[in-house]
Amino acid sequence: MNAPVSSFTPGMLVESPAARVSAAVACTRLSLRARGDLAPFEAALGLSLDGQIGSRSSSGVLEAMRLGPDEWILHGSKDAAASAVTELAGLYANHPHSLVDVSGREVSFVIEGPRAAELLTIGCPRNIETILPGSGRRTSFDGVTVVLWRDAETSFRMDVWNSFASHLLDLLATGCRELAAEIH
């Protein structure tokens, strides 16, 4: 028997007065690895790549986070991603790089609510407060590598590989209930 691949219908999965977890609408995800002069890539994508690790930039249709010194993850619509692929293909001869569509690899949970940041502490060893709103990080949640986007003080997105998604959702659901039980 094959275990079903995690495919969540976009919408609310867990809800408590402390925090809510929902499945985000599917997007196209591109993994970019590049070194050296970033300017041609920035021009082609219409966003900035040169910030600190964890910094983000958006072109309006495509959103990027720097994951490492030579690694970025890009999220966008199917059309935005397709045009990014075309644009970067034109750079390849003079600026060798790797651009891979990893859309099928992950799902994103939206985690929000008054105690969303506290909910993340049940799985993240790092201090969530060091991830400022508008930035993000690749980090660990219960031993699983995840990418966290902090969209606002109490609003996060977590990109999770499919095979870990149901486990992490169970953990988040438990955390939501536990935090809500403390509210009287």
């Binding site: 690790i53 490492g68 010194p69 690694e71 690749r138």
Partner: protein, 100 residues
């Protein structure tokens, strides 16, 4: 839990984000085909295993993904410094000065 400074992220983060990767500054043989069995044994298996400041590799696995080097005191478990892969060995005397 140990806190480890990643020289690429420039952040000090919990050990759980990192994985250990053995002794640092072990150069690969320049001419592998000229190596004797004894040379290979030395390269592959023999490590200095020092008691005190030890140069070792770590990887920021759940983070930027990069390997880097560290000097850790194997007695106290204290990190004396971390530095980017490819950077020269830091001067031990200046690192341990503050500890005396």
């Amino acid at each position: 839990m140990l806190l480890i400074h990643c020289p690429y992220c420039d952040e000090t983060l919990p050990e759980l984000e990192f994985t250990y990767a053995g002794e640092a500054h072990i150069a690969r043989p320049e001419n592998p085909s000229e190596m004797s069995d004894e040379d290979w044994q030395e390269f592959l298996f023999m490590r200095s295993n020092v008691k005190g400041p030890y140069h070792e590799r770590w990887r920021h696995f759940h983070g930027c993904g990069r390997y880097f080097n560290a000097v850790r005191d194997t007695v106290s478990d204290k990190f004396l410094t971390t530095y980017k892969a490819g950077a020269p060995r830091p001067d031990l005397a200046s690192l341990t000065e503050g500890l005396k």
